[in-house]
């Protein structure tokens, strides 16, 4: 079966993001970029499915500027077979991303779509579910275990308070949570090999998808700063302050 994995180029998760002084957006100038951590988990899961003989081909797709090729190459180095870049300089909202992915799904006809539950830049947690609605596919969101059995997939989901398992008819969409797996590191020979794997570039226009924006970014502000408080001398003083000053005990 064919697996499609969607990945996004985002700020590296170790970098502290800063808001621009004019509050127009965050400042991403000269900031280290990387594959979104949840997308890495999606790639890893697809590659493991291939290693188990469940998946026959792993196709990775990304939407973004030309440099997003780097993240596709990373996925190819981790074991994906070929890449598709939908090149656009525009900042897309989730619905547009879902519409573009729907066009890729129609063309590629994957049995399983794997993607991160959210990206660590916009933190939306929407695209997988939107793609599900647009294609009619079932969804296993926030997955911590994925088991393909014949023409269905059982997905264990991390929900508030525990775990829940759903059975989905294929083709289906799975969005990954942290516990699904621990992504491997790409080896140097595989990084070299990835450079020769096919990477096709297309565009929203080529896919016949009109991009529309409905959300205007009014401003971006830093969160309220916390002031460092006081140091207490001992546990007794701590308990006294929590009871009488903060009144939280």
């Amino acid at each position: 079966m064919k697996v499609l994995v969607a990945v996004k180029r985002v700020i590296d998760y170790n970098v502290k993001v800063r808001v621009k002084p004019d509050n127009s957006d965050v400042d991403l100038t000269n900031v280290k970029m990387a594959m979104n951590p949840f997308c890495e988990i999606a790639v890893e899961e697809a590659v493991r499915l291939k290693e188990k003989g469940v998946a026959t081909e792993v196709v990775v797709v990304s939407i973004g500027p030309k440099v997003a090729q780097e993240q596709i190459r990373t996925a190819l180095a981790l074991g994906a077979d070929r890449g598709i870049l939908i090149e656009t300089e525009e900042k897309l909202e989730s619905l547009s991303v879902a519409k573009l992915l729907k066009a890729v799904v129609e063309k590629e006809q994957p049995q399983l779509v794997l993607m991160g539950k959210q990206t660590i830049d916009s933190d939306n947690n929407q695209t997988g579910q939107m793609l599900g609605a647009l294609t009619g596919m079932a969804q296993g969101t926030f997955a911590s275990e994925v088991v393909v059995e014949g023409d269905k997939v059982n997905v264990t989901r991390e929900v508030d308070g525990g775990l829940r398992t759903v059975g989905l008819a294929l083709p289906a969409i799975v969005t990954t949570d942290l516990r699904l797996n621990e992504p491997r590191y790409a080896s140097l020979p595989n990084i070299m090999k990835a450079k020769r794997k096919p990477l096709e570039t297309t565009s929203p226009a080529d896919l016949g998808v009109a991009i529309a924006s409905t959300q205007t970014l009014v401003k971006v502000t830093p969160p309220a700063e916390r002031q460092a408080g006081v140091k207490v001398a001992d546990v007794a003083e701590l308990v006294e302050k929590l009871k009488n000053e903060a009144k939280v005990l």
Partner: protein, 309 residues
Amino acid sequence: MSILVVAEHDNSALKGATLNTVAAAAAIGGDVTVLVAGSGCQAVAEAAAKVAGVSKVLVADNAVYEHQLGEVLGELVADVAKGYTHVLAPATTTGKDFLPRTAALLDVNMLSDVVEVVSADTFSRPIYAGNAIATYQSADAIKVLTVRTTAFDAVAAEGGSAAVETVDFVSGYDKAAFVGEELAQSDRPELTAAEVVVSGGRGMGNGDNFSMLYSLADKLGAAVGASRAAVDAGFVPNDLQVGQTGKIVAPGLYMAVGISGAIQHLAGMKDSKVIVAINKDEEAPIFQVADYGLVADLFEAVPELEKLV
């Protein structure tokens, strides 16, 4: 303005997250309708009708809604939403699962984890794990939002007397089925909903030492969390992780024990009302965000704390 709030419940009781979401609806202003979708959920509908500020309750009581699968709720809410200007759900794992499906079916965008209502079409939400707050103005015909419950004080559960009506729409979606669930049987509150959270970091030394924190947590009625360092070291499972890539919490009291305070961790807890840090390294960055810092050996301080609270 007419606002549809989708209730969070377990078919027998209305969950508190609904009250925070109604509060966000009240901040927008207008008629508030609560939709209760479930199976055998009449008691929930009655509870929803008593919530202050709710003018109408819609009940979709059918076996297909028993497990509130995202696919079926997504269809139902998209059908019901058509008469409304806004659709709100709490940003729980249920709300996050179905509401984007609803938005896509309505051909509109969505705003997740809203923390402030600026006006009827303008809302603020955290991005980059809370390291920035973005304000968006939405031009969508129907505004679809999930609400971060910790950002809105719950409305009163009593005081209203809304009319209850039934919804006829029955989703025929059949590609997804409930298989089973394992809900934590702990008496401790859920990490993301707890009023008090006690978290441990690499300073705990090993997994066994976390029993100290569980013991303290039980005395405080608290949930237990952990830093990514503690999870990566294998002390505790991943689902306890508080931080940018784990759970975002904002309890009334957050106790960070043996946690240095990496940016990654701070992103997940810095909206807590009161932060206590216990760490033997007085230079630890956690002290820069802590309201009360105690420089001490946690292996002495935690047992003593348990005795005194």
